[in-house]
Symmetry: C2
Subunit: 466 residues, 2 copies
């Protein structure tokens, strides 16, 4: 029997006595020597077991007098959160439902890949390697701007995307969302106007609302924002900032054309507009698409990115790329509000996993797998009358319109009672004009979902006719 | 020779050819088979080596055509940041100087323990254990409120501190600072007035300024805030919130008395004041001190905590304890602005390290070690004419006054040129009335610092006399 097994037996013995109430709250535990003799184990085994029970809050130690049963010795029942059916279907709805879904709930509307599509072995290797890193990496606050080698690596990856920026122009953050949050804090004041695409990533709405920002939206076309509408809005509403996705647009999967990119930037110069380019899906591109930061050289464009979609969302590390003076001010802001950026230990794990020779192969395999999956799901959704608005070049989203003006929010609400979280169109739409659209994550979409959609479409059909 | 060694030799071979310019930017690399034959290694070794070079950004792959030297094949020079001597000595000064200090700079003014005082072996064990966790822990976004078992554990630890709060009333955050940041976002608007202690933790000033909050301060006594002054301020300035430290006050190390705690809470009730109690040093207490949350039951008090000081600042995980409805709103805010809280992987490492039987022993040893160190440093600083304002019951701070009204900011500025970051009094003081005080971290204070202080005090003395 191993030492750990012997220790666990002592822990169980005490837990049983507490459960059977032969030891009650406040009672003194047997002495270490006494229990060691009773159970025929060494005193050090009992000491270790008592330490575990103290750490778990089951018992406590009074220096010099021994160990006592805690007042609240029974562990709390682990509560089940379950789906919140009554909550309004707004821009936080998909986020909270997806994040907090229980294990038996599926998430064809969520914004990430299933964990078995991710390079888990590389992450495990990286963690074991970082477990041997210097003590400082494991215990200290890191550099305020973030892990230097990781910033160098990001700079090289940006260079491969035709974007030039040194590590001094990069700030690591806790996430892509927090990167945007810091940008809003630096560049905006409550009451300012910000322009977003219609549709756009739903959390942009929630985040801007948290900053008390006035949101205006520009209709999005398969080649980027509608330029005539953009010009009118810039003249009439004078937004301070335009927040958009480049590389692969969320939720549509569309790609900015070179002409549109150039024109957007010219308009931004004329109207003194700052642009935040969220390029979180850039690594999913099969070939490079026009990037505003590549044209502008981070003069009035800021880039946001993260490896949450390609490597791990559990690590929590994003980044902002911007002018050196803005990065310095953003760094101060992050120190003031978070005493620094992402975990240095996590940054080291991320850097290790990204420089593992396997990351490129993982991305190539992922891109191919998603290509096949998008084609298959386009066919299967098409058979139900759901047609993608564009054919995306990459990524895991399909933005589809329901037949017969079926209300996607109602489909989402009904699906939640059947254990599936969908992402209905209007959570992506500031104008609330996308009620019959839905964003599908092809990597999470299963045959059961297609069957459920078929049923709900049919029911909607009938409802319309009666 | 191992496979890894052979791969590294191929990597070195290519790097040498790039450095010697026999391979230039854009050049095609030798074919995998060709190089394998030349170097007498297997093709798979060359493929692995090329993958490493791609991951490092030295070369890139064009699908179907082979590998090419990147345009910017030379790795960036790693820049040295060095101390920023010219920066104003304000509330961000100590933070940035301490966080960004190079390895040869010492930090007797910083707010953390040296890494060799921390339970590094327990952290390494926890990381190795979590490296074997389920894939979902390593790749997925976690529960929006944060790791459930960790919240249970925090609830049990709070119970041991006479504070009752279930895991539903706890939100995990990226840090103690971010916990406070979220509270400010929820409960305050720009222009609101917030009350802090004079002196108080310097980053409170920076954080509140980031929220455009008007800061007022109440003189702090060895038993808590000056009650007469507090009452006057509540009547005249009507602050919405009072932000204070309980358990062990930062920077003074003082402890709130029971009488003062009760009176503060009565005044808060009369004047409808919300109290945020930052109890980040609670685990360093030798015995329990009065806690506002224990008296109030989290009606108008919110508690903030973290394990940055006792376990690791690298993990980045703090928490807020508050009323259930506030926690729900804070969770939404954290999703909107950060798409969730701390890294689920990190939360798992933290939970594992805290429930390791060794944590209690680590804290007992740490408390004893700090007791001895505070006594020793009190004597040695006293010999230089620096006397602690109070004798703290625990923790690692001593708040001392210089003799002869020597200006602590000037000492700090001069010390920085000698490679030591000190924390001068006025960065802790909203009223700027603490110019001859300094906060010392006894765990970081070395004999060289005492010698340097002796010299500067002597020089200051002479300067006064001439």
């Amino acid at each position: 029997m191993t030492e750990a097994t012997r220790r666990n037996l002592v822990v169980e013995h005490i837990n049983r006595r507490i459960q059977s109430r032969t030891l009650g709250p406040g009672d003194k535990l047997p002495s270490v020597r006494g229990l060691a003799a009773t159970l025929q184990v060494s005193a050090s085994t009992v000491v270790e077991a008592y330490d575990v029970l103290v750490a778990e809050g089951i018992i406590w130690a009074r220096r010099g007098s021994g160990f006592f049963v805690a007042d609240r010795a029974q562990p709390f029942a682990v509560s089940q959160t379950g789906p919140q059916l009554e909550r309004e279907v707004d821009s936080l709805w998909v986020a909270r439902q997806s994040i907090d879904a229980e294990n038996d709930v599926t998430k064809p509307g969520c914004g990430w890949l299933p964990s078995d599509w991710m390079p888990v072995d590389a992450l495990r290797r990286a963690m074991r390697q970082v477990a041997r890193a210097s003590s400082a990496v494991l215990t200290d606050y890191g550099n305020a701007q973030g892990h230097l080698e990781l910033r160098h690596l990001i700079a090289r990856k940006l260079h491969d995307q035709a974007i030039e920026a040194g590590p001094d122009c990069i700030l690591l953050t806790n996430s892509g969302s927090q990167a945007l949050d810091l940008v809003c804090r630096l560049l905006l004041s409550p009451g300012d106007t910000v322009l977003v695409d219609d549709p756009c990533y739903f959390n942009f709405h929630a985040l801007l609302r948290a900053h008390q920002i006035k949101i205006v939206s520009v209709p999005f076309t398969p080649k980027g924002p509608n330029l005539a509408a953009l010009e009118d809005i810039l003249k009439d509403q004078r937004p301070r900032l335009y927040l958009t996705n480049s590389a692969l647009h969320n939720p549509t999967g569309a790609t900015l054309s070179a002409t549109t990119a150039h024109r957007v930037l010219s308009l931004a110069e004329t109207h003194d507009l700052i642009i935040v380019e969220d390029a979180i899906f850039a690594e999913f591109e099969p070939t490079l698409s026009p990037r505003l930061a590549a044209l502008d050289g981070h003069n009035r464009v800021l880039t946001i990115g993260s490896y949450s979609k390609t490597l791990s969302a559990s690590l929590r590390c994003g980044h902002i790329v911007a002018r050196r003076d803005w990065i310095e001010a953003l760094t101060d802001l992050q120190v003031a509000t978070n005493f620094g950026g992402p975990s240095p230990m996590v940054s080291e794990v991320l850097h290790t996993a990204l420089t593992d020779g396997g990351y490129r192969k993982h991305m190539e395999a992922l891109i191919s797998r998603l290509d096949r999956r998008r084609s298959q799901m386009t066919r299967e959704l098409g058979a139900l009358g759901l047609k993608p608005w564009v054919k995306p070049r990459g990524g895991f989203y399909l933005w589809c319109e329901f037949p017969n003006q079926i209300d996607a929010a109602s489909v989402a609400r009904r699906s939640l009672t059947r254990g599936a979280v969908f992402a209905p169109g209007n959570v992506f739409s500031a104008s609330q004009s996308m009620s019959s659209f839905m964003r599908f994550n092809v990597s999470q979409l299963e045959s059961g979902h297609l069957k459920l959609l078929g049923e709900l479409i049919k029911a909607g059909d009938t409802a319309d006719r009666t």
